[in-house]
Symmetry: C2
Subunit: 355 residues, 2 copies
């Protein structure tokens, strides 16, 4: 599917090959902290902006132009598929995805019909095509993404963002058969969502199991990993690299590595050399603490160097933050980080893990 030569730094690192320069992109680079994003998007629901291909493609491309990052990531949201099939979910500014009628019983399964991408999300397909046409695939591939079934389910069941995930944990433990049906439908939605993106031109895919770290390892293995693995298997047939990522997943990394992912994303809590020991022979992505991008730039830069050295423990390393860009981040700091990764990345990698 991908016609990008493996020589683009991002794809080379994702394949565990030595890139021509250390690749870097930032989760949530498209949007939030960029003034040109706020000017383009205006106010209103993010889902409205996502549904306008010219705007969504522009927002996708803005960080590439500003920072010179090694990957563009589609401006979209993990709830786009469930929104598009009419589950009844919106993204409330300052709060996040909110479902007016949460998923609570078997009857709610009917609210999760299959996604017909050409009919339900033509704007996503169009956005990918527009953005892709503006990018040089030998330098900057376009990443697609989807939410992993557990993480999307958490919004549907809790009705919104949660600190405790109490309702979703109660459901999975007390009615595991219904839970399996729920995440299986969400797996099919994720597969349809990323298949549409890759078919339209996306050259890699990240699966966001953002909140998997709220689960214990045994819960993750039983209730989240199987559906994530189903998505990964389907994406694997599309022939593009697959990244899996979540926050607070230190205890889960070894299991996440069994999902079929080609690259494992790591949050900032786990040093990459420690992560490499758990993940085994896969490239890693991460993991500068996004909070340090709000500190003086020298602090962020020194921390970035440490990340680059520790990343040498993995067979490949794609530099990123350990979570999404914080809205209040100074774009100048991210620009400095990109420069540093490009200028010093391979040298620091060759120096290797600090003893």
């Amino acid at each position: 599917m991908s016609d990008a030569p493996a020589s683009s730094p991002f794809l080379a690192a994702a394949h565990g090959e030595r890139p021509s320069r250390a690749p870097v992109w930032f989760m949530r680079q498209a949007g939030r902290s960029l003034p040109e994003y706020r000017a383009t998007r205006g106010t209103g629901s993010i889902l409205d902006a996502i549904a306008q291909p010219e705007i969504a493609a522009e927002v996708t491309l803005q960080p590439v132009r500003r920072y010179g990052v090694d990957a563009a990531v589609l401006f979209s949201d993990i709830v786009v598929p469930v929104h598009a099939i009419g589950f009844g979910i919106d993204v409330v500014p300052g709060r996040g995805p909110v479902a007016e009628q949460p998923f609570s019983s078997a009857a709610d399964l009917e609210r999760l019909r299959p996604l017909e991408a050409e009919v339900d999300i033509p704007y996503v397909i169009e956005t990918v095509k527009i953005a892709r046409a503006e990018l040089d695939p030998a330098i900057c591939p376009l990443l697609g993404f989807a939410g992993a079934p557990f993480t999307v389910a958490s919004y549907l069941v809790e009705g919104g963002p949660s600190k405790t995930f109490a309702k979703v944990k109660a459901l999975m433990h007390s009615d595991p058969a219904l839970w399996e049906q729920l995440v299986d439908r969400l797996a099919d939605l994720a597969i349809a969502f990323v298949t549409a993106q890759v078919t339209a031109g996306a050259q890699a895919v990240q699966l966001f199991d953002s909140w998997a770290g709220a689960l214990s390892p045994s819960e993750y293995r039983r209730f989240a990993l199987p559906a994530a693995t189903k998505v990964m298997a389907a994406v694997g047939e599309l022939g593009v690299p697959r990244i899996i990522f979540g926050v607070g997943t230190g205890e889960l990394l070894a299991d996440m590595a069994t999902s079929g992912a080609d690259v494992v994303g790591v949050d900032w809590r786990v040093p990459l050399d420690a992560a490499a020991a758990r993940v085994g022979n896969l490239p890693l992505q991460g993991n500068l603490d996004p909070a340090l991008c709000l500190a003086p730039v020298e602090v962020a830069e020194e921390a970035a160097r440490d990340v680059l050295r520790r990343g040498a423990a993995a067979p490949g390393h794609i530099f990123n933050l350990g979570h999404g860009v914080l809205p209040e981040t100074d774009p100048g700091v991210l620009g400095a980080i990109v420069e540093l990764v490009h200028a010093e990345g391979l040298t620091l990698r060759d120096q290797g893990v600090p003893q």
Copy 2:
């Protein structure tokens, strides 16, 4: 200092001795989820209730009466010392500790004078004495506690609860000398706070470094552990067992075990057998997911049994939640957990870690 015989189940387990029954208590058992607590305390700031010894002692004792737990924990708050010396901090219902004028520069050090317990917090001393007189030390010791310097500093610097800890991380990295002065003063405050509690009759101490898990291991070692270790060393001279606890500390457990703690508390993300391998030869406390106490009681009970089996990997185990009791918890579920731990705990411990 302690005149409780080591035969109380809690103290036996804390010392790594076999208790007469598996001991259990719950972080935040005093307050929040109990209807008798809400009736006693009424509305208003929690700091007002803490300052009334009869009320605070009553709230301390309520969970002992209702649940038959193996330890009473002082009804207090980690910001009591900084509040008492006039830093200017309150606990806002539904939000948490809020400092109107956050700590931001060396000039703010003057706002952190030493604590004179008899003058500044006589009500804490009185509360301990009242509660202690009502407890049988051979069965139910009274636990005191303090906030660890990093965690208290996070409230002072951020001005309130934080998701990112961006300001506190910026301060520690950009002005480490000021940071050291800040946490050193907070260490002295914590020492004075728990010394007053132990002198008045508290028989063990827990140091809450609740948010340490937001730090990377190298940040924890450099910016949080030294001050926590100072507190632990001073408490050690008081001759009572010391527990250290934080959330999301999977990567930090081995370092936390070097703090001087006698017992390491573990959140629900790390199975206790995995925690034991990192902590080494210390008893553990934890770690039932508090969210599971909102699931059907059978779910919570089965998870509790798993905790008890895995706790066998440590030389001692004090059953607890992996974080504080959630406000919406049904007290009946906690009661069932206490019954289960008492009835089955030692048997499950003897069965040992599931393979």
